[in-house]
């Protein structure tokens, strides 16, 4: 263990301990002083829920009342994906296909589970309108399906920088933004859905977001995952 990373010096640890203890005291005081009876904005949300086009308050907040937050949040996601692509893309090595290595049991599992996951994703998307669920959760499940397929050897990392993938990654954001701006031409302000179309627009946005989030999560994994050859080359054994 001569080459081990040294533990932080004692002084740093002590200082960090003191700092954290101080924060601890501050935070406990602050947290306990939060009034018990606060109602926040819950009543306002409840009151306006009928205008939002959806029945589930969290979805209403996310995709209508504070949809601007969500728009920017998706931008963060797209941005992080571009970041990962740029970090991984300049990686000197290129992935080679690994399909022939696929474990039969694993690929059977992937083929069995993937359709279920897609279905579940659709279900969560649909459920989000009136119950917990929604674009992000649905997209996450979709993305998991993609990651599973990738792990089972069904993904070709070579396409991570292709145009098609870039389209899928950004399409949710683009549709969201297009609708956000588009409604401005209908006499509203940014992201102001006309009451009658609110439900439909939210659904369109959510659907495309689901697709994009799924694609993004898969890309995040594939683009940054190390090639299996590299792993094997380093250890000289393994599967």
């Amino acid at each position: 263990m001569a080459s081990a990373v040294p533990e932080s010096p004692r002084g740093v640890r002590l200082a960090a301990g003191a700092l954290c203890a101080g924060f601890g005291v501050l935070l406990v005081r602050a947290v306990l002083a939060i009034p018990e009876d606060h109602s926040g904005l819950a009543p306002v949300v409840a009151e306006r829920l009928v205008d939002s086009g959806v029945k589930h308050p969290v979805t209403a907040v996310l995709l209508n009342f504070r949809s601007y937050d969500t728009l920017l949040e998706i931008a963060v996601l797209v941005l992080a994906t571009i970041g990962v692509l740029s970090v991984a893309g300049s990686h000197p090595r290129v992935w080679a296909p690994v399909a022939e290595e696929a474990d039969p049991v694993l690929s059977a599992l992937a083929r069995l589970l993937a359709p279920f996951m897609v279905l579940a994703s659709g279900y969560l998307l649909w459920a989000g309108e009136h119950a917990p669920g929604g674009a992000f959760q649905a997209g996450a499940v979709l993305g998991a399906a993609g990651v599973l397929l990738a792990l089972a050897g069904y993904a070709r990392p070579a396409w991570v920088t292709k145009f098609g993938l870039r389209v899928v990654i950004s399409v949710g954001f683009i549709v969201f933004l297009a609708i956000a701006v588009g409604v401005m031409f209908l006499g509203g302000v940014l992201l102001e859905y006309p009451r009658d179309y609110a439900k439909a627009l939210v659904l369109i946005v959510e659907t495309w977001l689901t697709v994009s989030i799924g694609a993004i999560l898969v890309s995040l994994f594939i683009a940054s995952a190390s090639p299996i050859e590299e792993l094997r080359a380093r250890t000289g054994s393994g599967r």
Binding site: A4, P132, L148, S237
Partner: protein
């Protein structure tokens, strides 16, 4: 009724905590991963019980997601994280 169901939830939580000791003890990464796989099953059971106890049907969806993704970690582990050296060594320390 709720109290009884919560009691079962406590038991299941305890099984998870007991399982954590296997993660702690190892010794091989496979042992740790295996224990984590067990938490998934216990978690699903807990969620289903809580769905009943708290009368929140949405928790079954959570359980569904857990069930769907239960194998993910293990698969990722097998395909990506665990490729032991010739001697079957333990994973390296990070510090």
């Amino acid at each position: 009724m709720n109290a009884v169901l919560m009691g079962f939830a406590v038991v299941l939580l305890l099984t998870i905590i007991v399982g954590l000791t296997r993660v702690e003890r190892g010794p091989s990464p496979a042992d740790r991963m295996l224990a984590a796989q067990l938490f998934g099953t216990s978690g699903v059971a807990t969620l289903l019980i809580l769905a009943q106890a708290l009368e929140t049907p949405a928790l079954r969806d959570v359980a569904l997601v857990f069930a769907l993704l239960a194998a993910m970690a293990t698969v990722a582990f097998v395909k990506r994280a665990w490729h032991p050296g010739p001697s079957g060594e333990e994973e390296p320390p990070c510090q």
